[in-house]
């Protein structure tokens, strides 16, 4: 159960990160100085502040803030903030900041000539993106994204502070209740290792798939 929870958070967070990462990369590369600044602020904050701190701010800060606002309107009850959603959002937003840089790097190495050629034959911007840019970005970004995935997977361990029962929290519970810490933390380490090595295989497979037709140097 706890393992599924870890996989669920990591997967949701990673995909949230992909979306945020594409948006982030798009704004960092855009012509508008405001968008560029927004992208810069986003990646600077979420890559610069420790992950645990962000999770604390999201989980404990958000419910405090919502209750403060609700309290201002005369509602003194308690507003629950879902631990899964806030944890997922925190890890997702952090991984989004890293994905931004991965995508940006991939876009920057695209051969300019191909894009100019596509424009020259009259392709509209969206078609250029879909046919020329996107497939290559995917291929170039995959190794970097693999890294982002692995670090998100391990970051989920930090969400245990919110009381969400994922692998880390489950092993703390078992270790404290049975007084066998070494056994249960070893099992947890094994599980993380298994998940990481298993998913890295997936990334290798995807890399092989997207680089068909490219010679490896």
């Amino acid at each position: 159960m706890a393992t599924f929870m870890t996989i669920a958070i990591a997967t949701c967070a990673f995909f949230l990160g992909l979306i945020l990462g594409s948006l982030g990369a798009a704004s960092k590369l855009s012509r508008s100085p405001i968008l560029r600044l927004a992208g810069q602020v986003y990646t600077t904050i979420f890559r610069g502040v420790p992950d645990l701190l962000i999770i604390y701010l999201f989980y404990f800060g958000s419910s405090g803030m919502i209750m403060y606002i609700a309290g201002a309107f005369g509602y003194t009850g308690y507003v629950e903030v879902n631990a899964f959603l806030t944890g997922m959002a925190a890890v997702g937003i952090i991984s989004g900041a890293y994905s931004t840089e991965v995508f940006r790097g991939a876009v920057l190495v695209l051969p300019k000539g191909e894009i100019e050629a596509a424009k020259a034959i009259g392709m509209r911007p969206w078609l250029v993106f879909r046919r020329i840019m996107a497939p290559q970005i995917l291929r170039l970004a995959l190794p970097g994204l693999g890294n982002v995935w692995v670090s998100s997977l391990k970051e989920t361990a930090l969400i245990s502070v919110t009381g969400l029962v994922e692998i880390m929290r489950q092993s703390t519970i078992c270790a404290g209740s049975t007084k066998e810490p070494l056994l249960f933390y070893s099992i947890a380490a094994g599980l993380y290792l298994f998940l990481v090595s298993f998913s890295i295989r997936g990334f290798h497979w995807a890399e092989a798939l997207t680089s068909r037709g490219f010679r490896r140097n």
Partner: protein, 292 residues
Amino acid sequence: MNGLRTHEKWLIFLVVTAVILAMSAGAEAKEWKKVRIATEGAYSPWNLTDASGKLTGYEIDLGNDLCRRMNVECEWIAQDWAGLFPGLNAGKFDLVMASVGVTEKRKEALSFSDFYAYQSSKFAVLKSSSLAKSVSDSNAIMDLENMNPESQKTLNELKKALSGKAIGVQTATNQYRFLETHFKDVVEIRNYKTAEQTDLDLVAGRIDALIVSTTYLKPLMATEKGKDLALIGPFFRGGPFPMGNSAAFRKDQDTELVQMFNAALDGAIKDGTVSKLSLKWFKYDVMENPKP
């Protein structure tokens, strides 16, 4: 207000109304029907999670009993230790029962109920060792906060008896601070990451004595693993050690809830429920042995 646009006027109106509402809401006392209690669920025998995933332990049994007495519905929330106090202050739960030792420092940040367990520490040795014969087990309490000439004498005798011995202690604990202050120059202090490692090494003969909380020692001595242990010297309390354990509340906020909790606890102590639960989980009475 002529310079303001319509939506800005609306905003001001809303803020003013909100402030008035908030002030009036704060004036009426909160009625407690449902209380959310947080615990760690990973600190046997205080609070633990059994094989079926259910919370159990001394504090869970006691908490449920107190909720019945307070006539409130209780909800238990298992939280990682690191998330307990931030969560309490963020309003995610109303009180924490997680073997929280009451210290002066913590009193600055939290409100506490009356004690539901008294804490003390003791030296333990192997039954077969010479120390078990030379130093007797005593029920006296040495209050490190208020030392008198007599307790100073006992402490000096203990120092002499333990001189040159290797003493095991869990690192970064109150017991470690106690050894550092009073025994540093006469004994060899050996640090361990957990309390279990300390008692394993005592049984293995690598250390001559250990010092740990009695709430850890007594349940251990009732098992096969701890049957060869013997206690020596007085109970230590005060100074670096917390007096006891209490439920923790948000600082100075839910005074009625603290009063309700204390009244229920008082009832449970008087009718023997607390002692009964203590015998069940700790194998000794945490309210009696030793009393302050």
